[in-house]
Every structure is written in structure tokens, then in C-alpha cells.
Amino acid sequence: MSGHTDMVLVDENGMRIDGRTEEQHRPIKIEAGVLSNADGSAYVEIGKNKVLAAVYGPRECHPRHLQNPTKAIVQCKYNMQAFSVSDRKRPGPDRRSIEISKIISEALERVVLTELYPRASIDVYIEILQANAGTRCAGLTAASVALADAGIPMRDIVPAIAAGKADGHVLLDLNKEEDNYGQADVPIAIMPSTDEIVLLQMDGNMTREEFDHAIELAVNACHEVHDLQVDALKRRYSKPAQEGSE
């Protein structure tokens, strides 16, 4: 959203620099249960993004003063590895990662049945191994698969994807170049059963019509991501069962 470039992000045929159309998302790969020491885990690749999420809990809430006597809290920690971007990222929490942690935990709190576990805490750790724009969406996608894998009661599995605007075109799932030199970025997460929006941000400028179109694109894509999430979870349990019954 910041820089300017001579690069043609969308050519006259509506083709993007990585060969996608305006309404196409990057290839997505989801795997559930990749870590054995966490209660639940997931690994997600969206294009060049590589994200690992781990879930612990519900467990006793520390620090004590964060406890809520009526419901559990979801504590999320989003962290980018130093090697996740081309310039080394200074390790440790910064303003951006604190913000992302907060919005992801708020999105997850909407779907987790927190009232079942008063005074407890559900801890979600999201590690960005490789970043290429759209890591908060990839992180949330991974986190909700990890929560389901941990057996935590929740209303729905949350898929997330971004839409945006670059070169005057409304695009789905912006990549690094489109994000940096584009005009707007709108990450969205929904609850697929009701289409309720649990995460919505916007960076940059769009007209009302463009925004509506972006939301429509993203919501449709979210349902596709959701299918992949469900598939990843079911794959985890159908395989060992078949091996076991042989």
C-alpha cells in the first residue's frame, strides 16, 4: 500500500503477475495434527506463506488476573520468525504482531464455546515461518484447524482470506507485490454456517462498490478454504483408522 512501482500488477487480460485471475486464490495446503507435544496443531501453506499453529488447553489461566469467572479466554500469540521475511525481522513482539494476536484471539473467542470452561485459558501459538502477504489470514486459518484438532468445543471452523485492490482491480488473496504496491487490503474471516464476519480490517482506500465486491469475493473464497480445513481434519482421522483396521 506504500510504494510505487512500474510493475504491471494486472495485465489487460486480467492476469496477475503470478498467473492468477482476479478471483483466484493461491494454492492452499492444510495439514492437521503435525505436532505431537501440543494438544492440537496445524500447518498451513497459502502460496509462499508457511504457518504453524499450536493449541494448548483449556488449562488454568495464568496470569491469574486475566481469569474470567464466567468463561474461558482465548490467548493468542502471533509471532514472525526472524527468517520469515527477506530482511531479517527483529525478533520479539512488536506493535503489528500484538495487534494481530489481539484480533485473532477475538475472532476465535466468537466461535469457541468459552462458557464451558470458566476461569480457564485456551492458548494459541501462531508461528510464521515464511511470509508473503496475508499471514494473519493464514494464521487464523491454521489456528482454527488446530483448535478443532485439540478437541475444543466450538461452533464452527473459521476460514480467513484477504481481498484487496491493486492497479485499480479488485483482487482476491493479494500476494506480496500486490499488497505493497496496491491500493487496499481487506482481510476477512467468517463463520461459514451463518456467514457472520468475525474479522474484518481494511488498509487503504476503496469505493463502496469495490468494497462490496471485495467482501463478496472473500466470503466465497472463505467457503472454499473451509472445505479444505474440514478435509484436512477428516484426513487426519480416516488414515489411521484404515491402517488400524487392516
Partner: protein, 238 residues
């Protein structure tokens, strides 16, 4: 058992999946949205009479009153012990709930840190405050033997239909075995026999989904422990 398995296809559901849209009632781990019953955890779809629910595949142990559990002492107070029973909450064991007369401040003489105890869950209130007791027949401090931890959702598999699996384990390995509802299992016996029993329990946890598991476990124990003294009181093998 075999017939039931063959009839019911083991359908795996994930949170948000529609279990039923034709007016059945939500059972365990299910909720209703717009007249449709949906799953709230990942597990196996389970229909019972007019309700449809989900048997979870994973998840933490939530105590219910009456559960027999095995716990480990993690903290000692002047008039109570804190017991880790694998739940998200600590379970206090008050001195009034032990079979001994304990003076105030003298708690550590009876139960020390790391001691294992066989307890019963007295009550769990709506804010999930747990009370446990040791005042019931069979409840005691556990000495000797070894503890195995498995996922609490696999406990029913270790016991199996009317205790067939657990009684086979006990008979074939000649061990004393106590299963806590929280997935803690106490095994006591000869070193060699207990080793096999522990391995068998781990195997049950790993292959909980498999068919004919009781048969497989039986074969496994036979291969490890050539049945000698047990062989005549049990079914004819070899």
C-alpha cells in the same frame, strides 16, 4: 458388538457440521442453529434414540461427580492437598475427605508431593469448582506399581463392553489394574508382566479405532508372555 460396528458407519464430523436437519434433539457436543443440529467438537457422529450427538476423539477431561479418578498431589496446604487429576482445574482434597484424622498443618505427613491417590469426584459446580474425596470403599493412597497416562476419551476402549478388555488384561498379565475415568491407569504386578500390560494399554490407545481390538491385544500379550499359569483358567489358546 461386531454387528453394531458393521451397521453404523463411523462418520467423522468436525465442528459446524450438520448432524441432523429433521428435528432430532441435540445430544452431547451438539448445538442447534436455525433448526439444524450441528457438531461442536471433532468426533464420531452418534445417534441414540431421538438425540444426535458427537463422541469426541480428543479433548481434555472434564470431571463429573461420581467419577473414580487417579490423581497426583501437586501442592500441600495446611488443611488440604491440591490434586492434579488431568482436568483444566485443580482439585482440592480437604482433610475432612480423607480416611485419617489429620491435625491442622500436619497434612504432609499423610500425603506428600508426587504421591498418587485413587479418588472419587464428589461434586463439580457450575463454575467448575471441583471437590474430591477419598472416603469411600477402595479409595486410597496408591503405593507401588506404575501409572500410565492415556487420553481420557480412550478409557471406555480400555474397559470395553462390560469390562471384557480389562478383565482379559488382568487375567492374562496377572496384574492388578485400576482405571481412572481421567485416563490415568495404575498397573501393579511382576516387572515383566507389568511391562507387557503397559505396552498393551498403550496399544489400545493407539489403535482405539481398530476392529477386533480385543483379539489383537490377546495375540499381542500371548506373543510377549507365553501363557503358563494363566493358560488353564482362561480360554483355550495356543
Amino acid at each position: 458388538m461386531e454387528k453394531r460396528n458393521a451397521r453404523q458407519t463411523r462418520e467423522i464430523v468436525v465442528p459446524g457440521d450438520i448432524l441432523d436437519g429433521t428435528g432430532m434433539k441435540p445430544g452431547e457436543n451438539a448445538y442447534v442453529l436455525d433448526g439444524k443440529v450441528r457438531a461442536s467438537v471433532m468426533g464420531v457422529r452418534n445417534v441414540f434414540q431421538n438425540t444426535v450427538g458427537v463422541i469426541p476423539l480428543k479433548g481434555c477431561y472434564m470431571p463429573t461427580s461420581g467419577d473414580t479418578v487417579i490423581g497426583v498431589i501437586v501442592d500441600i496446604g495446611p488443611s488440604n492437598w491440591l490434586v492434579d487429576i488431568g482436568a483444566p482445574y485443580p482439585a482440592p482434597l480437604h482433610v475432612n475427605e480423607v480416611p485419617w484424622k489429620v491435625e491442622f498443618g500436619d497434612t504432609s505427613r499423610y500425603l506428600g508431593m508426587g504421591n498418587a491417590v485413587l479418588l472419587k469426584v464428589l461434586s463439580v459446580d457450575e463454575s467448575k469448582k471441583i471437590q474430591v474425596t477419598m472416603k469411600d470403599s477402595g479409595l486410597r493412597k496408591i503405593e507401588g506399581g506404575r501409572l500410565v497416562k492415556i487420553s481420557h476419551s480412550k478409557v471406555s476402549r480400555v474397559i470395553d463392553k462390560s469390562g471384557s478388555m480389562i478383565s482379559m488384561l488382568k487375567n492374562m498379565t496377572d496384574c492388578r489394574i485400576t482405571v481412572g475415568q481421567n485416563g490415568m491407569i495404575w498397573v501393579d504386578g511382576d516387572d515383566e508382566n507389568a511391562d507387557v500390560a503397559v505396552l498393551a494399554i498403550k496399544m489400545i490407545e493407539e489403535k482405539a479405532q481398530a476392529r477386533d481390538l480385543t483379539e489383537k491385544i490377546k495375540e499381542f500379550i500371548e506373543s510377549k508372555l507365553p501363557q503358563s499359569e494363566e493358560y488353564d483358567d482362561d480360554e483355550g489358546e495356543e
